[in-house]
Subunit: 129 residues, 2 copies
DNA sequence: ATGATATATAATAATAATTACTATTATTGT
DNA sequence: ACAATAATAGTAATTATTATTATATATCAT
């Protein structure tokens, strides 16, 4: 039960995320979607972003710069956060699941996964000297 | 300038963190410190937790279960978060800084570090079968 | 010890991100 | 087309955190 019904708002949100390389916050999604759907509500954006990430159709990124960000690519991958400009970039690297084994050695519980993000200075923010 | 002056409230917060293996939230610190300092203010707790972590005397953990947690051990180390009970545990493992190199290969910016936490089921939450 | 100066505090208000509520609207199965 | 149910817009409420301000406390020079 609790069948999911189609809504054009949700469709628009998913389309928007699938067509951007940015990793927008809920508020950015709201402001941009509003250009096509002037009456969309911020609550609708939040509800659908959470629903889509629960369904595994998008990723919710807890980059902890205050608010969550969203990624239209649901495949597990790593992110880089620039300390200077705050941008979130995709990293092209293999999965590093061997760190789960390192962490699990001597740990009495079960390690199921890890959350990792890398930080530093992005190419646009490196001063030219 | 902006010299730091001693305060017994800050001392109590540091003592409290150094004597617990838990990773309390600001609110938990507040509630516990209040047993000895009934008039302490939540704002004071937040200000001192931030000050201490800026000074490198404690760690602020962004485990992203909604709120920040604090660790009296300022040495860099990794944390495990139990999906069932939500507890945050210290992991005894070496630093895995080689993942910065993996991430940096082919990345045009500079990787300076990473934030990682592991999740799964802690020993107390593993069902006995 | 005394007083001047600067920092810290308690109490409260304000902010930011997110979630909850509710009457209305849209979708879906028959 | 109709009934049942989920989704929406608009608004209010919640949660974690930061800002404000008058008062209290610590520190430093005398």
């Amino acid at each position: 039960m609790a069948a999911i019904k189609y809504s054009r708002q949700r469709e628009a949100i998913k389309d928007y995320l699938m067509n951007t390389k940015q990793h927008p916050t809920a508020d950015t999604v709201y402001l941009d979607i509003r250009k096509n759907y002037p009456n969309i509500s911020l609550g609708t954006v939040y509800r659908n972003l959470n629903l889509l990430s629960e369904q595994g159709e998008i990723l919710k990124i807890n980059c902890r710069d205050g608010c969550d960000r969203f990624d239209g690519n649901p495949e597990p991958h790593y992110h880089f956060i620039c300390k200077i400009c705050g941008r979130v970039l995709d990293l092209e690297m293999e999965q590093i699941d061997h760190i789960n084994v390192i962490a699990g050695a001597g740990f009495p519980g079960v390690i199921e996964g890890h959350v990792t993000y890398f930080y530093g200075t992005c190419s646009k923010c490196i001063p030219i000297n």
